[in-house]
Symmetry: C2
Subunit: 264 residues, 2 copies
């Protein structure tokens, strides 16, 4: 078949994870799949790049319709290598995931899954990050893979607005009720550290804690959708400008300043 869609797949749990295998399985019928994914776990890597270290790339598999590389770098490195060095044309879509664990609300900022999707968006590739709200390595991905395939198919048909990708989260429930298009809920993590000791009796800190939804009653948020059994789809943009504030802070504009008095 000529002109099958070119589908770039990556994730942040590593090329060996169950989530990406489930994703590859449902995407192969939709086009030619090229996987460039980290060679191990890169959870919480956000949009990090390997600015000081070299990156290794390994071809793991090349068969009709499916090519798989592992990469020693971050999820964003994977996307950059795919676009700059591996693919001979821009992919028709990038799908990142399926992540083991939720990337809703403020977690979009920490997420390597979404870091990769945002990177695809910078390159002008319609991009989707998909996550399941279950951290376990043997989570059941059958339902979320189905939704990932349907949304991928829709994005291939209709595209996405420039500068916008999708942050898709699927609740770990018996029967998903459907899809809600929503906004990122306001929230934060609290009680974030478990204090312990290393073998030399130094204090060490392990990141842990729990997420606190600051607006549990708002029905238009991803957190509400997920806690009510819906898939949340948050259109997410690479332009982080707070436009309202640009207007309101215009009076901060000054000409060249001299040494402020408190520095003298």
């Amino acid at each position: 078949m000529i002109n099958r869609p070119l589908i770039l797949v990556t994730n942040d749990d590593g090329v060996q994870s169950k989530g990406i295998s489930s994703l590859i399985r449902v995407l192969c019928p939709l086009g030619d799949v090229v996987v460039v994914a980290p060679d191990g776990g890169r959870s919480g890597m956000s949009s990090a790049i390997s600015s000081k270290l070299p990156i290794w790339l390994n071809l793991l598999k090349k068969e009709e319709g499916l090519t798989v590389y592992s990469c020693s770098g971050t999820p964003v490195d994977c996307v950059k290598l795919a676009v700059n060095e591996i693919l001979d044309r821009k992919p028709d879509i990038l799908v990142s995931g399926i992540n083991h664990g939720s990337n809703s609300s403020i977690c979009v900022l920490y997420s390597g899954t979404m870091g990769a999707a945002l990177e695809g968006t910078i390159f002008g590739i319609p991009s989707v990050g998909v996550s399941l709200t279950d951290h376990s390595s043997d989570a059941d991905f059958s339902d979320v893979a189905k939704y990932a395939a349907v949304i991928t198919s829709k994005v291939l048909d209709e595209g996405l607005p420039q500068g916008v990708c999708l942050n898709v989260n699927v609740p770990d429930v018996k029967l998903v009720k459907g899809i809600k298009v929503c906004r990122q809920a306001k929230g934060l993590w609290v009680k974030e550290f478990m204090k312990s000791k290393d073998a030399l009796d130094n204090d060490i800190y392990w990141l842990t804690g729990y997420f606190q939804n600051e607006e549990p009653e708002s029905e238009d948020t991803d957190e509400w959708a997920l806690s009510h059994g819906y898939v949340s789809v948050v259109p997410t943009q690479i332009d982080m400008t707070a436009y309202e504030a640009v207007k309101n802070l215009k009076n901060w504009e000054v000409q060249t300043i001299s040494e402020p008095s408190f520095l003298n």
Copy 2:
């Protein structure tokens, strides 16, 4: 003096860098400064967190008005540790930097400096990231430090809108013309890799390339301000929702879907 402002300082170049030293020097007259910064370079770490590794914290200095810790984690880890484990109250401001190198346009997404500022914003701390468009380790920070002090003082007086921090970039020019409040320019990095070999003759890739401004004529962007000798101040928000797209994609909402035909 009672009730001096509490100023949290961090960066992504490490506690030993010239940029953070310049910043500490100009902030000490403004309040009590607590520094929690990485123990080495963490450039390009974005909002990455140490999700799988423990974090070590070391008290380096404690004197009247200035406390300095180094941290083995990422810039965001530093902010989380400061808020959760070190400080006995919420800081009045977080200042991240001064970064060696620009964090304008799309680099806000990769920047550890801005990752820390965004993290402060999640905690409800008025936060500012400051960068100088000069990567060299011995850059001249005297001018940028002056602007950092003036902007910090202004934020301490007036606060910032909820969910919004400032991405401040200062051009490496002889005479800065003043401050422009602007939006994030559209752009991307191109020709991003230098290919080389490791000692075992494996291919390796080094991240490099150059930034391409996709709208050089737009006078309301940070890139325009910087290339015309102005300090760029971009109000930057933690809500990445593309609200226009939320409206336009509402027709994607469906009820529970059955197995799509292409998976059968």
